[in-house]
């Protein structure tokens, strides 16, 4: 930890020195080029040594561009342009915007996403939660299904009358480690987890578990959910 903090301090000093050295070299404003063709943008970018952007990869990669504090998106786009996808569902932020074409969803959401989302939701676990709230959004559909009908391997029913779960087998452990947020969707308080994972039963913590950090930050409230006072 000390090593990491030291690196951050050194980097901060480096940033400060760089800033002092060439503060005069201002970046170019793009406001006057907002109506230019993208090919013109790319030619200019290349001549200035800047990477062409707004290409076919823009949807995937724009998170990094837009996340920078000195981003210049607002020189060409108003905030409503972003919100049209991020909040509005593509109703068109003005009359020049098309709302009759492909719906404003990522290309991964194609073909009636209900059909293929069980596969796509297993991709990068962070992706879904950048736009959707795990508990509210996913559970608004999933809680309508009878238990055991979701084809989650650990939740498939067993026995002659299909009355039991097989989550005791190893499937639930690997499924939970792979996408724990999906567990939180239906079990927001984790009560079902604590039944087995509370003190002395089955250790749930990672190998390099930093118990002291979470204890300090929550005044041990979290620890007391499973452990008795004085035993941790």
């Amino acid at each position: 930890m000390k090593k990491f903090v030291s690196i951050i301090v050194v980097l901060s000093l480096g940033l400060f020195c760089l800033q002092q050295k060439s503060y005069a070299d201002k970046k170019v404003s793009h406001a006057e080029y907002k109506d230019s063709a993208l090919s013109d943008c790319n030619d200019c970018h290349k001549s200035e040594g800047v990477a062409p952007n707004h290409d076919a990869d823009f949807l995937r990669g724009h998170r990094v561009l837009a996340g920078r504090s000195n981003k210049n998106c607002n020189q060409c786009h108003e905030q409503k342009w972003c919100l049209d996808c991020h909040q509005g569902g593509g109703t068109g932020d003005d009359l020049t915007k098309s709302n009759f074409g492909r719906d404003y969803t990522p290309k991964s959401h194609r073909s009636g996403f209900v059909s293929i989302h069980p596969i796509k939701a297993q991709d990068n676990p962070q992706n879904c939660y950048r736009c959707h709230d795990a508990v509210a959004f996913c559970n608004s559909c999933h809680n309508r299904f009878p238990k055991g009908s979701l084809r989650i391997k650990s939740h498939l029913m067993l026995g002659p009358n299909a009355q039991g779960y097989n989550f005791i087998t190893g499937e639930h452990a690997s499924e939970a480690r792979r996408n724990l947020q999906s567990c939180q969707t239906c079990h927001p308080e984790g009560d079902v987890c604590i039944q087995c994972h509370s003190s002395g039963k089955t250790r749930p913590h990672p190998r390099n578990w930093k118990a002291g950090n979470i204890k300090d930050r929550t005044n041990a409230k979290m620890c007391l959910k499973c452990h008795l006072p004085g035993t941790f």
Binding site: L15, P52, G67, S98, R178, H205
Partner: protein, 266 residues
């Protein structure tokens, strides 16, 4: 930045008096070829400190044809990187971009959530991609991603796509991808056409088609979506648009939906 963290649920405001967030950031300004930022974020709730994180972003242009970039989020509670991205773009000419990226994530939960105490797998992803613009009429792209999960269930994703403009008023977009691994197969793509026959009228149509297999027990299934739309600009302040769509999949033999919109710009 900072302030009260206001949370709403269906019943109204769900936040309490101890829900706050604050953060600070310092970024490099005035260096043309370099971007860098360091940030700190803290979220507080009923249990105490819910999130305690450092962030960093970096971008550097080199030799007029290389861009290096990175993005990191470090969780101080678990002392691990919750997200880490490193990438390089090489653009020898203005119409060719080669991209290589490595990304990893480790899910983090609020410290007040029971899920914050559980072990999880680290997710890693490598991306290689080429974007090439041949001329004003055509561009192509191709990519490969390898998704690596902690317990050997890796996934390969291949994708290709093209955008064509054979004549000025027509634009065609085609893309296809194939995903295989972790017991799943997803094989499909889409085609879209837009056409502007006269200035105030725009037409568009599209098809999406997927053949997929969730696991060996489900077998192969097919999902299709067809849509057709048009927009007519009545005058400077009014437009009307219409869109219809049909979904055909394992749930519906036909599922028609549509929307008609009239826009008036006040």
């Amino acid at each position: 930045m900072g302030g009260r963290n206001v949370i709403f649920n269906l019943g109204g405001e769900a936040s309490n008096g101890r829900d706050y967030v604050w953060g600070l950031a310092a970024n490099l300004a005035g260096v043309k070829t370099t971007d860098a930022e360091l940030s700190y974020f803290m979220k507080l709730d009923d249990a105490g400190i819910a999130r305690d994180q450092l962030g960093a972003t970096f971008k550097q242009y080199l030799l007029n044809s290389v861009k290096l970039y990175g993005n990191a989020r470090f969780d101080l509670t678990s002392e691990t990187f919750s997200e880490l991205l490193a990438g390089v773009k090489y653009y020898p000419v203005s119409n060719l971009v080669l991209t290589g990226e490595w990304y990893q994530s480790y899910p983090i939960f609020d410290n007040s959530s029971i899920f914050s105490v559980f072990a999880v797998d680290r997710y890693q992803e490598g991306v290689l991609r080429v974007d090439y613009t041949l001329n004003d009429k055509a561009s192509v792209n191709a990519g490969y991603s390898r998704q690596v999960y902690g317990e050997g269930s890796d996934v390969n994703v291949y994708q290709i796509g093209t955008r064509l403009r054979p004549i000025e008023p027509v634009q065609v977009s085609l893309n296809y991808d194939f995903q295989n691994g972790n017991g799943n197969v997803l094989n499909g793509g889409g085609a879209e056409v837009t056409y502007e026959p006269i200035k105030p009228l725009e037409l568009a149509a599209g098809l999406q088609y997927d053949v997929y297999q969730r696991d060996q027990a489900t077998g192969r299934e097919t999902a299709r979506r067809y849509w057709l739309g048009g927009k007519y600009k009545l005058n400077k302040t009014m437009t009307a648009s219409l869109r219809i769509e049909d979904n055909v999949n394992h749930q519906f033999t036909n599922d028609w939906s549509g929307r008609a919109v009239f826009n008036y710009d006040f």
